[in-house]
């Protein structure tokens, strides 16, 4: 029986190819996902142990940072080097090297050049260094530093030069000699791009302590020598010397613990998430496989009937179909694993990942091979079960008299009832959740107040039920939708009429194919709509809370820099203004920390502000204050329309504003007339931002603390994107460390980038399922063509040209793809809107956009792919000479 099966398989090999391709894609995805998970784990491990250098042991806290409470954290961060008794540790038998991990951030100066420096402690043993010394040597004596090579370039120094180091904690600047250059080959400090090395005295100075023993340290690395027994003795001795809660651990064990805490518990979560998409892809592939086998068995009825006539049993035919499915699944899965391996190997070899800071390696284990193959084979066999059952229903009589198979199988009542239930239940859940949400936004009591997550789960669950119900009942509504669309398309000509009639021939197959495509398109559309809604809602919320699009402020804000930023494409207007931080007392007695900004009259201000300032002129002696506080929204009321401004100072240590020394002396106070206007936040750092005439600054009434640049942005008019404007303005200030660009546009740009990145990733993952569904469309078409050989030949005989036949197949494919696609877009938009409503209502009025771009692209791709899919079957159909119409079956 098996040899017969294999022979039959060989003959129908062509028909099995699309199903095989579907399996290859699905298993390749799963294999690649598993490889990706392995690589991520491996990279994290290497990252956490990169700081070891060649050390084989480390000293660490007994609890991971993730699990530490406040008391633990206090204890941990008050440990200093001397607590660890470094001299006693070094004296222990077997300890060949010791290095404490302490860090400092400083600013290095060489003449006019400045650079930020991130530095770690040095070690006398080169092997214990976490970075590689590329030139010179590591610091050994006092006053030495080895700089990261990028920092050295920025400063323009070479080995042997001197630099000055200063930091927030250092009491005074220190001179240092550059004795070497470093490079972070192992990726120990990816966030900083590397680290410089400082000698112990410099490290102490930069941390603001008098000697190295007082530097805060939480980790140390040891190089321990000897056989396992000796090492154990050494470690025990060390543990006795160490302070409470600290132990020495081997590199391996420490790495495992670190990976766990770094990834927040499980890199496996990411892998599982990705595998979910793999399962989705395989599900869609299963539909394609089921279709293929149904037609395969139908085509083979004669042969199967003959086999039954000469003595094959029902069980043998059943087993034969399953065997064929299993073989196909096995071969295709193996190919898929190979493809996945090749893909990941290409990605890791190309250095793509190292550009984002994590150089990944290809890490193989048994799961990468076994899981996809097992999944693929099992899936294929399960998908072929129903056709196997059909094969057993072939009677020997059919060998003598071929029966014209007609689609008389009525779709089960069970299916209809089940799907109706799911639809009803799902819709009810969604409606309830939406109702509760609307009550919440209207300010009425609702479940959302205490059980938000329940309501959210309800909405998600409801959507899932609706979706599932529609997929299960696809065999009812999809053929009808196609009928309607086809009737419309029939107006286009005879080819369309034939296509319209052909689609109705096999509603089950058409429904399965359409459902496969529906799944992918709905998911893509949901994500796109959700992302678009999120972006729009966020934008609206931000815009309603802020009156100025973007501000840039900082210690080293200069006019030159401001004019550079003003030239960025998308900045339509800007003001460069002096600022002073003042305290203002309102009628209630509260002291409001206000940023006072000097502008040249209200008209200048109106250029950048989105608010109705009334008829205020901001002349001399007037101050413009907002109605409400930016923190908490409390109203400001001012006695007599006059207000006194007293200077406030910002303490460098704690960032609190307090009454400055000047104010206590009564100096620098200014009394002005108050006008209030309804404008919103200008800066998120102050309770209020007020505007006075710039003359108060030029005349000396107010002391200029700094400068601020206010900007009005219109990205659409300038033909650019918000993100481009934001990065443009940021890069105008790139050469200064202290300027920050904030404001709603800035926040929006950051949000949108993040949302777009996530959306791209998710859509990319779903695209795999969509691809398989499109393969399914091609498959259905080619199967239909095979079934319709006789009819196509008849049509050709009575006058259908080849072009007309090709066109009718193309129209069939287009109808299938577009109707499923449109249904998917409609569903996805609905789900996306509901989801956005549930999630974003808490932040503002939800916007319900229709993402024309993504939805249009999806439909366009589906249509194009459908057309492409019809090429090969069409060619096969026109190859059939009309003579076959006259041939006996």
């Amino acid at each position: 029986m098996f040899s017969i099966t294999i022979r039959m398989m060989k003959r129908s090999a062509r028909m099995l190819v699309p199903a095989g391709i579907a399996i290859v894609i699905g298993t390749a995805f799963i294999a690649a996902t598993l490889l990706f998970g392995n690589a991520m784990n491996d990279t994290l491990k290497r990252m956490t142990t990169a700081q070891y250098g060649d050390a084989n042991y480390s000293i660490g806290f007994d609890t991971s940072i993730a699990d530490a409470d406040d008391a633990d954290m206090d204890y941990l961060y008050s440990r200093t080097v001397s607590d660890f008794h470094p001299e006693r540790l070094r004296a222990v038998e077997g300890v060949k090297g010791l290095r404490f991990e302490a860090r400092a951030e400083a600013v290095a100066t060489n003449g006019d050049s400045h650079a930020n420096v991130f530095a770690v402690t040095t070690a006398s043993e080169r092997g214990l260094l976490p970075v590689t010394v590329t030139q010179g040597a590591q610091p050994s004596g006092d006053g030495q530093a080895a700089l990261q090579d990028s920092t050295a370039k920025q400063l323009g120094v070479r080995v042997g030069d001197d630099i000055t180091l200063a930091s927030k904690g250092a009491s005074h600047d220190m001179r240092a000699r550059v004795v070497g250059l470093t490079r972070d080959d192992a990726g120990a400090y990816p966030y900083y791009g590397g680290a410089s090395l400082l000698s112990d005295d410099l490290m102490a100075a930069m941390n603001g302590v008098s000697d190295f023993g007082r530097v805060n340290a939480t980790t140390a690395y040891l190089d321990i020598d000897g056989d396992p027994a000796a090492v154990k003795t050494t470690v025990d001795t060390i543990n006795r010397i160490l302070p409470k809660r600290f132990t020495a651990q081997s590199r391996d064990k420490a790495a495992k613990a670190a990976v766990k805490s770094l990834s927040g518990g499980d890199t496996d979560i990411v892998t599982t998430f990705l595998l979910g998409f793999g399962a989705l892809a395989m599900l869609v592939a299963a539909l394609v496989i089921a279709n293929t086998f149904q037609v395969l068995v139908a085509q083979r009825r004669r042969t199967l009937a003959l086999l039954r006539t000469i003595g094959a049993g029902k069980g043998q035919l059943y087993a034969s179909v399953l065997f064929e499915a299993g073989l196909l699944g096995l071969v295709a899965s193996v190919l898929g694993v190979g493809l996945g391996l090749a893909l990941m190997a290409a990605v890791t070899a190309s250095g793509l990942t190292s550009s984002i800071g994590m150089a990944m390696r290809l890490v193989l284990d048994w799961r990468v091979f076994v899981v996809p193959i097992a999944f693929g084979v099992v899936m294929t066999v399960i998908a072929s079960l129903s056709s196997a059952r059909t094969a057993t229903s072939v009677t020997p009589l059919e060998a003598l008299r071929p029966m014209e198979l007609s689609e008389t199988r009525r779709t089960g009542v069970v299916r209809g009832a089940l799907s109706a239930l799911m639809l009803a239940g799902g819709l009810a859940m969604c409606a309830y959740a939406a109702w509760q949400m609307s009550r919440n936004t209207a300010g009425q009591a609702s479940m959302v107040d205490d059980h938000y997550s329940t309501v959210l789960v309800m909405a998600v669950g409801g959507c899932a039920l609706v979706f599932l119900g529609l997929i299960v009942s696809a065999v009812y509504w999809l053929p009808r939708a196609l009928h309607g669309a086809g009737a419309f398309a029939s107006l286009a000509g005879p080819s369309a009429r034939i296509a319209h009639a052909n689609i109705q021939k096999n509603p089950r197959r058409v429904a399965a194919t359409g459902a496969a495509l529906l799944i992918g398109v709905t998911l893509v559309s949901t994500i796109a709509t959700g992302a678009a809604s999120g972006k729009a809602t966020m934008g609206e919320a931000l815009a309603s809370r802020y009156s100025v699009d973007m501000i840039a402020s900082g210690d080293d804000m200069t006019d030159a820099r401001a004019s550079k930023a003003a030239k960025v494409k998308g900045v339509t207007a800007s003001i460069y203004a002096p600022t002073a931080t003042m305290n203002v007392k309102d009628t209630h007695g509260t002291t409001i920390t206000t940023l006072v900004v000097g502008v040249d009259g209200a008209d200048t201000l109106r250029k950048v502000m989105h608010a109705d300032l009334g008829d205020t002129a901001i002349g001399n002696g007037t101050i413009l204050m907002p109605h409400r506080s930016a923190f908490g929204g409390k109203d400001f009321v001012f006695r007599n329309g006059r207000v006194e401004l007293t200077p406030a100072s910002v303490s460098p240590a704690s960032g609190d504003t307090a009454t400055s020394d000047d104010a206590r002396d009564g100096k620098g106070a200014l009394t002005l007339d108050v006008r209030q206007a309804d404008y919103r936040r200008v800066s998120a750092d102050y309770a209020a931002v007020a505007f006075v005439n710039i003359r108060h600054f030029t005349d000396g009434d107010l002391k200029t603390d700094g400068h601020m640049m206010l900007m009005r942005i219109d990205a659409d008019k300038a033909g650019t994107t918000l993100n481009d404007v934001f990065t443009g303005v940021q890069s105008a200030f790139a050469d200064s460390a202290g300027i920050t660009v904030t404001g709603p546009i800035a926040e929006r740009a950051q949000w949108e980038t993040m949302i777009d990145a996530m959306m791209a990733m998710l859509v990319g993952l779903i695209a795999v399922a969509v691809l398989i569904a499109l393969v399914g469309v091609a498959n259905t078409l080619s199967l239909s063509v095979i079934e319709r050989t006789r009819e196509s030949a008849t049509l050709r005989a009575i006058g259908m040209t080849r072009g007309q036949l090709r066109r009718s197949l193309a129209i069939e494919a287009l109808l299938l793809a577009l109707v499923s696609g449109l249904a998917g877009v409609a569903l996805g938009t609905g789900f996306g809107w509901l989801g956005s409503y549930m999630v974003f209502s808490l932040y503002g009025t939800v916007v319900f956009p229709f993402d024309w771009a993504v939805n249009g692209a999806t439909l366009g791709i589906a249509a194009l792919a459908a057309l492409l899919a019809s090429v090969a079957p069409a060619r096969r159909a026109v190859k059939t000479p009309p003579v076959e119409a006259l041939a006996e079956a």
Binding site: S406, E791, T794, L795, A797, I798, V883
Partner: protein
């Protein structure tokens, strides 16, 4: 085109010699088309289909099958002709090539005045749409269309408007008024074949080819179908060429040709069932006689 000296198109017209029988001979080389030595006094304009030196071979070399061996035959307009012969005689191949469904290896076919052996696929398709009608043994109706849609299919493919009065005439003649909205699987065999006949006639073709039209029908339906075919020739002026192995069916025709081994071996006007059976038996005996001494 080269011509033999004693025969030429003009000479034929002028000769006006009647010929009762016609025997084919081996086709000659490429360009010279030997005209048949005798032709029924047929004016050019009344010929529906004509085959000149038609040859069809399948395969090559030793295993080559010579389905048609230089056949010369002429079919008049407005006549019902039957082509008979044993299985494997090449009668179906003759019909396929005459209808343009299969290509000829050699020779020429003139259908309604045009040489179809020089036509490409598109021209042949248009020919089949407008000037040729088909009736198949297994009906070959399109299962997803109603009877009316099936009948009008050739016109639908042409994008042409149907002649409603002609349709009514056909439907009435074939007795299909009650069945127009039914699908093929709701019609009996006889009704399906009548729908097929209507489809063949809807475009008012020059020739209708019928391949064993009664092969899948019981005797009552067979008689009906043959009657209709005869009536469409008599009343509607159609030209029908029918391939059949049934002598009774052949008796409905105006002329019966017996085909054997790629050649025409008998040409009988006003055939009767007995005469045709006799001819067939004679042919069978000849074949058996030739087959005995180890060929």
């Amino acid at each position: 085109m080269g011509r033999h000296t004693n025969t030429g198109a003009g000479a034929m017209l002028r000769s006006g010699r009647a010929a009762a029988k016609h025997v084919g001979h081996m086709a000659d080389a490429a360009y010279d088309i030997p005209m048949p030595p005798a032709r029924t006094g047929v004016a050019r304009g009344t010929v529906a289909v004509e085959a000149i030196g038609l040859t069809k071979d399948y395969g090559r070399g030793e295993t080559a099958v010579h389905a048609l061996r230089g056949v010369d035959v002429c079919f008049e307009r407005g006549r019902f002709t039957a082509i008979m012969g044993p299985s494997g005689s090449g009668k179906s191949t003759l019909m396929h090539t005459l209808a343009g469904l299969d290509s000829a290896t050699g020779g020429h076919i003139l259908l309604d005045g045009s040489d179809i052996t020089t036509m490409n696929d598109r021209e042949l398709t248009l020919l089949r749409r407008r000037r040729i009608g088909f009736i198949f043994q297994n009906f070959n109706l399109l299962p997803m269309f109603t009877a009316e849609q099936n009948i009008l299919m050739p016109l639908t493919l042409a994008g042409a408007r149907p002649d409603r009065s002609w349709l009514r005439t056909l439907v009435r003649t074939l007795g299909l008024e009650q069945r127009m909205n039914h699908r093929p699987n709701e019609l009996s065999g006889g009704q399906q074949q009548r729908v097929a006949i209507a489809r063949a006639l809807i475009a008012k073709p020059a020739v209708v080819f019928a391949d064993e039209p009664t092969g899948n029908l019981d005797s009552v339906s067979s008689t009906e179908v043959l009657e209709f075919l005869k009536r469409s020739v008599r009343e509607l002026g159609q030209t029908i060429i029918m391939v059949t192995h049934d002598a009774v069916a052949a008796s409905y025709a105006d002329r019966a040709i017996v085909f054997a081994d790629g050649r025409i071996v008998a040409d009988e006007p006003h055939p009767t069932a007995e005469r045709m059976n006799a001819l067939l038996m004679e042919e069978r005996r000849n074949t058996a006689a030739h087959a005995r001494p180890g060929r």
